[in-house]
């Protein structure tokens, strides 16, 4: 499948009280098109995700109208946190089948400043990740549902709170080198462990932040004007929507999504230079490292020790700062992992550049570890 990511961009990130969701998406779209050397007039395909801060009856129609375009291929995509990586795959299918030549993928919202943080927590808890009749009445937070994964992982494999904390510390260290990141002050393992306990064993700093922001990329049938970045492989893995009945919660659908993506690309985990792993919680990264095959099952906690996932380590992970530190504006959060993979492969990352990065993995995780989409990207 010949598909390239020719342009990437984002809006201002963090706290942007003067910008609504459309303003943010417009800014990201224009940045990605400028990066690709393209204009809105050349866009003939459009993908976006739902937003949760406003009632957009037909999100992709709202975005198309807001941008002033009438694309011949358009869709609103929602596989939760896996939407960012899945957008690349859907856009690639559109260009590979000739449905479109230039697919703009754009999403984001003012998740932070639209409402209070308490309202965001309540809203997220009521989105429906806990079954409305059989689970929600007990009062789990979304972080609680991930905490159940963490607790079981600790029980089965001996993973420690310090190892979970190291994920947050490493990724914050990367955010410190990203001028656009929302949270940039370095933190230590002790800081994570001393941060407020939200839902055992997850502390505040084990959890993603809440941000305003939007991201965009342009998928094309041709390499584009910058150093080419090609989609080499992708895969999906779905296991469940509600985690309550899942009988093996310490293992995720990343097993399947990774296996398929690596097979399609014809490479192995050892070939990957930089991995943009979905980091909604620290446990997510540890499970993904194992399930994607970067280490044996159960070894994820030990794998992150000794700086192995930090810049300069054996496998730098989530080098823009991720959902834990750079930006998490809802469904668009996983798009920034794609944006960063492209920039790493082009060699544009400055202080956080992984030297000679030629093969990158970007991974999205949606729901409560229930749906995964893995991409492998490389210099063509």
């Amino acid at each position: 499948m010949n598909a390239f990511i020719a342009g990437v961009g984002e809006s201002p990130l963090g706290k942007t009280p003067d910008l609504n969701a459309m303003n943010l998406q417009h800014a990201a779209a224009l940045a990605a098109l400028a990066d690709a050397g393209l204009t809105l007039a050349e866009v003939d395909g459009l993908l976006t995700t739902p937003i949760r801060v406003a009632q957009w009856a037909m999100p992709v129609g709202m975005v198309a109208q807001g941008l002033g375009i009438r694309p011949g291929y358009l869709a609103t995509l929602d596989v939760a946190g896996a939407s960012g990586t899945a957008m690349v795959h859907h856009a690639a299918m559109a260009v590979a089948t000739g449905q479109a030549k230039t697919v703009l993928c754009v999403a984001g919202q003012n998740q932070l400043t639209n409402v209070s943080r308490d309202a965001t927590v309540a809203q997220l808890a009521s989105v429906g990740w806990a079954h409305p009749e059989y689970e929600a009445p007990y009062g789990p937070l979304i972080p609680t549902l991930y905490a159940l994964v963490a607790q079981r992982h600790m029980h089965e494999y001996g993973t420690t709170p310090e190892q979970l904390a190291e994920v947050a510390v490493a990724i914050r260290g990367h955010a410190a080198l990203n001028p656009l990141a929302h949270k940039r002050e370095p933190i230590t393992v002790a800081d994570v462990l001393a941060s407020k306990m939200i839902t055992t064993p997850l502390h505040m700093l084990d959890c993603a932040i809440v941000s305003d922001g939007a991201a965009a990329f342009v998928v094309t049938a041709h390499p584009g004007k910058k150093k080419p970045v090609k989609l080499l492989g992708q895969g999906y893995g779905f296991t469940h929507a509600y985690i309550g009945e899942h009988d093996n919660i310490a293992t995720t659908g990343a097993v399947q999504s990774g296996r398929e993506a690596f097979a399609m690309a014809g490479v192995t985990p050892a070939d990957i230079d930089v991995a943009q792993l979905y980091d909604c919680f620290t446990i997510t990264v540890i499970a993904e490292l194992e399930d994607l095959g970067f280490c044996p099952k159960g070894e994820g906690g030990r794998f992150v020790e000794g700086g192995r996932i930090r810049l300069g380590g054996e496998l730098p992970v989530t080098t823009h700062g991720g959902l834990l530190s750079a930006a998490h504006p809802g469904l668009a959060g996983g798009m920034f992992h794609v944006v960063e993979a492209v920039r790493q492969l082009r060699g544009e990352c400055g202080a956080r550049q992984v030297r000679d990065a030629e093969l990158a993995l970007a991974h999205g995780n949606g729901g409560i570890i229930g749906i995964h989409c893995t991409l492998i990207l490389g210099n063509a």
Binding site: V121, A125, I198, P201, I243, G244, E245
Partner: protein
Amino acid sequence: MLPPRPTNRFMLPRCEGCGKFHFYPRPACPHCGGARLAWMEPSGRGEVYSHSTVHRAPSAAFKDDVPYVIAIVKTDEGPHLLSRVVGVSPEKVSIGMRLRVRLGDRGPEFEPEA
């Protein structure tokens, strides 16, 4: 089609074809595909599969409950289900702890087996 979950007893859907329990309710048995399903009463016993003590309430409705224990319970009949563990201080809850059901206002809850 299964009627709504009975509230006066702890019941799980059971397939009359293969005899296995499952949860959540669905149109066909996830084990054998059978469509003859009925609410049946399991033993009400099980164990903690995983747990988390919530310290920050998701909304005002849960503020008075904090801290409380959310758990995935592995029933002796097989199905896992999300519930609360009550009647024990949160720090004493551990994976593998034996439980028995009791009916609460929120639905079935679990407490340590006597």
